[in-house]
Amino acid sequence: MRFAYVGVLAFILVGTLWLEVLLRTRVFRRWLRLVLSLVPVAVIFCLWDLYAIASGHWNFDVARITGIYLPGNLPIDEVLFFLVVPLAGILALEGVRSAKRGRAGWEAGDEANSEGDAP
């Protein structure tokens, strides 16, 4: 049961990684943009998590997490959560964009000709 938490994370990965292949979301091809999006968010939410753990807002069933911790009693499972879930979010957004590609009204704001573009 040590892997119950990371099992849920594996499910999220399996549920979204196929979008990269079948919908050609090309998120991993844009790896630098991906890393620059994921890392600051993971840092912020790890800090929130550290505060919440220290304040006793929540805790974890030690029998069902890996047992690997970062300083501050932060389970590595949580750190992975803050990387996997945002990645799944980006794949979901780009998946919708793939399906709606070329249709008016589905712009996300980073198109080459989008209004309010580069300063």
């Binding site: 549920g15 050609r24 620059l36 912020i44 807002h57 980006i90 793939s98 980073d110």
Partner: protein, 137 residues
């Protein structure tokens, strides 16, 4: 601060970043809310497992509802309510706000970077098996 207050504050900050700091205006876009509807469905499912099986347990002092049973002074031993007592699909409602802040902040940065020219290309799609185009509609 309680989890309730922090989660709401997190959402306010992220929406402010989206509208006025990064100016990505995702919360005004159909593509964002369509993706978010899919995301929140799977959040309810996966977070329901994490909270319903009590892998993650919450302190009643920090949330609207009571402590997760068996933890933080709640002596009963049963799964948390599926719906009610401040919970939706076993998870505290606060988690919906937490999740919104987490995912939306990521998408704001992702779109902002693309807009700044950081790997704007290659664009997403077309699907490997595109649906046949239906003319005149």
């Amino acid at each position: 601060m309680t989890y309730t207050a922090l989660a709401l504050l997190g959402c306010v900050i992220v929406v402010a970043l989206d509208l006025w700091v990064f100016r990505t205006r995702l919360v005004t876009r159909k593509v964002f809310w369509t993706a978010y509807a899919i995301i929140v469905f799977f959040q309810l499912l996966t977070n329901g497992v994490l909270t319903g099986l009590r892998i993650v347990r919450y302190n009643g002092d920090a949330i609207i509802g009571s402590s997760t049973p068996g933890t933080f002074g709640n002596a009963t031993d049963a799964p948390p309510p599926f719906f009610g007592d401040g919970r939706i699909a076993f998870a505290p409602v606060e988690d919906l706000f937490f999740g919104f802040a987490l995912v939306t902040l990521t998408l704001v940065l992702w779109i902002w970077l693309g807009r700044r020219g950081v790997q704007r290309e290659p664009r997403s799609g077309p699907p490997l098996f595109p649906r046949r185009h239906r003319p005149s509609r």
